[in-house]
């Protein structure tokens, strides 16, 4: 796991850590079953408050990215996790709704949006 904190970004420390762990899980750098450092280890390494790392892990657990096994530590949940799937579904719906709003402003009808989506999908599969 890699965490780099900026003191000048204006983004709260807990959010920086949370986003970095999330993106490493989504990109597959952190895999299902990987053990995360303990709350106190992470706080010590980054020289931050234990309460800050507690907040990060609590929120990641709520969003379905990790699971806290009492007495054993925190583990990454894989793509198979129902919670993570649910979370990604919500994420997709939110982005699609934004896309639809933009399409409406641009005067595109729904079949044109469908076409654009199909095209993007083909491009993705070529990659």
């Amino acid at each position: 796991m890699k965490i780099t904190l900026s003191n000048f970004s204006g983004i709260p420390i807990y959010e920086q850590i949370k986003e970095q762990i999330k993106s490493q899980i989504l990109s597959g750098e952190l895999k299902e079953g990987d053990k995360l450092p303990s709350l106190r280890e992470l706080a010590r390494d980054l020289r931050i408050s234990v309460l800050t790392t507690t907040r990060v892990y609590t929120e990641l657990e709520k969003e379905g990215f990790i699971t806290n096994i009492q007495g054993r530590g925190c583990y990454v949940l894989g793509e198979g996790s129902e919670l993570l799937k649910e979370h990604m579904l919500r994420e997709m719906e939110r982005n699609l709704s934004d896309a639809l709003k933009a399409a409406k402003i641009a005067g595109l009808n729904i079949s044109e949006v469908h076409q654009a989506l199909d095209l993007m999908n083909e491009d993705k599969q070529d990659e």
């Binding site: 420390i13 280890e41 010590r44 020289r47 931050i48 408050s49 234990v50 309460l51």
Partner: protein, 285 residues
Amino acid sequence: MSDAINVKNISKIYPGFELKDISFNLPKGYIMGFIGPNGAGKTTTIKLILNMIQRAGGTIEVFGLDNIAYDAEIKEHTGVVFDNHYFLDEWTLNDINRVMALFFSNWQSSIYREKLEQYQLNPAKKVKELSKGMRLKLMLAVAFSHDAKLLILDEPTSGLDPVARDELLETLAKFIQDGERSVLFSTHITSDLEKIADYITFINNGRLIFTGIKDEFIDSFRLVKGGKEDLTPDVKAHLIGYREYDSGFEGIMYTEYATLFPNLLAEKSSIDNIIVFTYKGTNGL
């Protein structure tokens, strides 16, 4: 969650100074920053916790035990680091090993020798020959050698260079690793606390201003800025303290009030600014 320290409504009266109705608790396993300007009552509070002076009112529990009735038990498990050390100048570090073994039933010479080596302190040296940074390390070595569960530091970083301060923070972070040990850390060098502290207790002029989670502390204040014409009586009434200058003003406001004045620039404040402007405000400067 049990508390390492639980202070309830304590007070102390000196001629010209009154510590009034101070309450806070430090949960076991965490670091609390104890802040406030000089003369706010930080050292008085610490002395009351350590049963070094008599209180006028209130209760204090350390490890869940009354701090007067269980004075000896508490001292066994409490390490203190003061700005001024409490050793005799003529003692060598070897002498301290022998003396402390008399004070503490759980004193471990092997750990003491280990720590001296780790901190690169020569056991043959006398206390008076040590630099300020070395004395701090000596006091830490003593605290660790009787397996302290609570570390109370009073202004340990004043007069230390950045390297020594960083080493201290590292030591404290390691100290609380097992979740059983706690730290109360009074300082006016707040950059030390900005990241590492879990809780903050802020007193000013003998009164408690805030106690709680550090992030909530920082988040409950905003540094607001504006032009001279923005400093209306209404704005003034909501400012805790401020500074006026030719091209405008800046000051500290509770976050809930800051939203009432959307024309002002409101940003997150450093702990330093919160202390400075609170001091200015309460002292009518």
